[in-house]
Each structure stands twice: as C-alpha cells, then as structure tokens.
C-alpha cells in the first residue's frame, strides 16, 4: 500500500509561519471579520474576540471557547481567525486591570450581540457604575429608565457578551449576595474582591489616577 503522505512531512512551525502570513493578508485584504485570541487571567483563560469596530466578546472557559466561536460564526460571520494582534490593546489593558493598574477600559466596543433594552442596560452599566462600586439590579433598572424592569436587567447582565470590560460583575442583589454571572458566582466574587482590595490601595497611588 502506497502511503505517499509520509513522504511529505509537514513541520508545525512552518504551518505557523503560513498562518501568521494568512493573518496579515486577511487583515490587509479586509477579510478578517472576527479576530480572536485567548489570555490567562485571575478568573481563568479568557477568549477575546473583536471585529473591525471593536471588542465583540469576552468569554470564560466555562462557556466553552469552541462553542462561543461557533456561535459567533453563525451570528456574525464565519470569517474568523486566531489573530492576536487586533486584541493586543485589550489583552494589555486586562493585564493592567488584574494587577490593579487600571480602573477603566479604553477600547472600542462592538455592541452587535446586544439589542434593544439589554443594550441600553449594558451601556448605562458601562458608563455609570464605576470601579470598586456596586449597584443593585433595581438601581440599574432605574438608571436605564425602566424602574420596573428589574428582571430584564438581570437577564441583560447575565447575557452580557463583554463581561469584565463591561462590568456586569458590579451588579449585585439588593440583599448583598452576588447573583448570577456568566463566568459563575466564584468569578464574580473574585472580581468584586479584586476591585475592593485595590480600592483600599487607591489612596496610596492617587497620583497615578487617570
């Protein structure tokens, strides 16, 4: 039996070089609809995905990164490549956030995965609930102009496509318990603790405040 394949061995490093060239060509040819990469963080590996307009999705490992990418392929575009460069600023800022050197994110956001009232809620959350603070679901409902829509606010936060950067972890129940979170209650608690810890430290390096 002829096995011609084994006479054409492929070096994985060479394929990586070709992949890098494809990333560049796709970017230059305006064919890279979604670029993604993964980063390590204090709450586990995070998937970051961005369109040309901005950060589209941040996903926790518990969501299954493959199924998140599959869903982006169906909902936004299948022209998806692992192409870290586009996510460099986001990755750097997340790193600064987790080490306490950043209190707000300065990256463009792509809101394509959020519509209607959910988007209104998340945009308010993004501008009105600052680092180290928390808000109740009811308070966020008032901020969003629909004080009775507490349950809908809960859904908006639980389905936030850009967690951490859009800080739905800062929205907690009126009784003080953390409530539901896309990355699990443990991750929500960890983020709240991180911000509380660094809130104490804030007085020490006020000079560095942006």
């Amino acid at each position: 039996m002829t096995n011609l394949k084994q006479h054409f061995p492929i070096d994985q490093n060479h394929l990586q070089l070709l992949h890098a060239r494809l990333e560049t060509d796709a970017q230059t040819g305006d064919l890279l609809d979604i670029a993604y990469r993964t980063v390590d963080s204090a709450v586990g590996p995070l998937l970051l995905a961005a369109t040309r307009s901005g950060l589209l999705r941040v996903a926790f490992a518990s969501e299954g990164h493959d199924s998140v990418l599959q869903s982006l392929s169906e909902r936004i575009s299948p022209r998806i490549l692992e192409a870290p460069t586009r996510l460099d600023p986001t990755a750097r800022q997340l790193d600064e956030y987790f080490t306490g050197h950043r209190h707000s994110f300065d990256v463009a956001l792509d809101w394509s995965l959020s519509h209607g009232f959910r988007r209104t809620v998340l945009e308010h959350l993004n501008t009105d609930v600052t680092y180290g603070a928390t808000a109740s679901y009811a308070a966020l409902a008032r901020l969003s102009g629909s004080p009775k829509a507490v349950r809908a606010v809960g859904t908006a936060c639980a389905t936030n496509p850009i967690p951490i950067v859009v800080p739905c972890h800062r929205v907690i129940r009126s009784d003080g318990t953390v409530g539901a979170y896309r990355g699990g209650p443990g991750a929500k608690r960890a983020l709240l603790d991180l911000e509380k810890e660094l809130d104490l430290g804030k007085e020490l390096d006020l000079g560095k405040e942006r």
Binding site: T2, F8, I10, D11, L18, L22, S73, I80
Partner: protein
C-alpha cells in the same frame, strides 16, 4: 425541502483541519519553492469565498479545487517570467529549516501535470476520482488512469515510495 443540519465552523477550524493537507498537495503540484505562495493564495481566496460556501459542502474537495486553480496561476506566472539562468543543480542545497527529499521532488516534478495533480489529489488529499474528475475537467476513467499511471511511474523513479519513511 431538505433541512440543513450542518453548521459552518469558524474559518480557523478549516485552517487547522486542512492546512497540512493543502500544503502537501501544493508542494507536490507546484514544488517546494512556490508551495508557500500557493498555500497562502489558496487560503486567502477560501477565506473570501467561505461565507457563500454551502454548509454541507465537502470542504477538502473545495480547498483542493481552489489550490488547483492557484497552482495553475502560479505556474503560468512563472513561465511568463522565466528567463534563461545558469544550471545551478550542482551547487550545494542551502540549509533549510524544513528539509525535504530532493529525489522525491524531482520524481514528482517530472510527472506530466495531469498525473501529478491526480496523484496529489488522490494520494495526498484522499479525494475519490469522481471529485478529481470534476477538478481536472475530465472523465472519471481518465482521472483514475492519470492517478494510476502517475503512481506507477513514481514507483519506478522513486522506489522508496513503498518504504515507510522511518525505515529509510
């Protein structure tokens, strides 16, 4: 109406799954020197066309079809640019990061184009001759014959072909 139960994977999954096969195919069809360009042209064109590809399409056959056309473009471009140069076959091969068998390259390169393509698409990409006939725009019988003739010639010109590589 047939309900389409296939879902289209992210393009990255296509590159991961088929990148090595396409590289083998283009190395056989255009040779090592032009293989990287052929691979890049193929996947860039595939990325462009991917949203329009039916979800139940045979992705490997689709990629080989694109690679076939890109290889033809590259070969034509080379013959247009071709200028007489001194024969350099006696000069020592430069150190390569990705070593390959020059005898095999020569043997595969010496096959007539149709045979070389049929051998690559059948023995390297694993496509059935029915698919290869469509790509080569020939009958299934002619594609099968090209593949059989090509591999028979290779057995003569490169006898190591039937030897597992780790025993050489």
């Amino acid at each position: 109406m047939k309900v389409d139960q296939h879902v289209k994977p992210p393009f990255e999954a296509v590159v991961q799954q088929h990148g090595a096969t396409v590289l083998r195919v283009v190395r056989a069809v255009v040779g090592h020197a032009d293989a990287d360009d052929a691979w890049s042209d193929t996947f860039l064109a595939a990325l462009k066309a991917y949203p329009r590809l039916p979800a139940d399409a045979n992705i490997e056959a689709w990629l080989v079809t694109i690679a076939h056309r890109k290889a033809i473009d590259i070969t034509r471009g080379n013959s247009r640019r071709a200028v007489p140069v001194a024969d350099t076959s006696d000069s020592p091969a430069p150190e390569r990061a990705d070593p390959h068998d020059l005898d095999l390259d020569a043997a595969v390169g010496a096959l007539p184009p149709k045979q070389r393509q049929a051998v690559a698409y059948h023995y390297l990409a694993g496509l059935p001759y029915a698919e290869i006939a469509v790509i080569l725009d020939s009958s299934v019988a002619a594609a099968r014959r090209a593949g059989a003739d090509g591999i028979a010639t290779l057995r003569r010109t490169y006898p190591l072909i039937d030897t597992p590589r780790d025993q050489q």
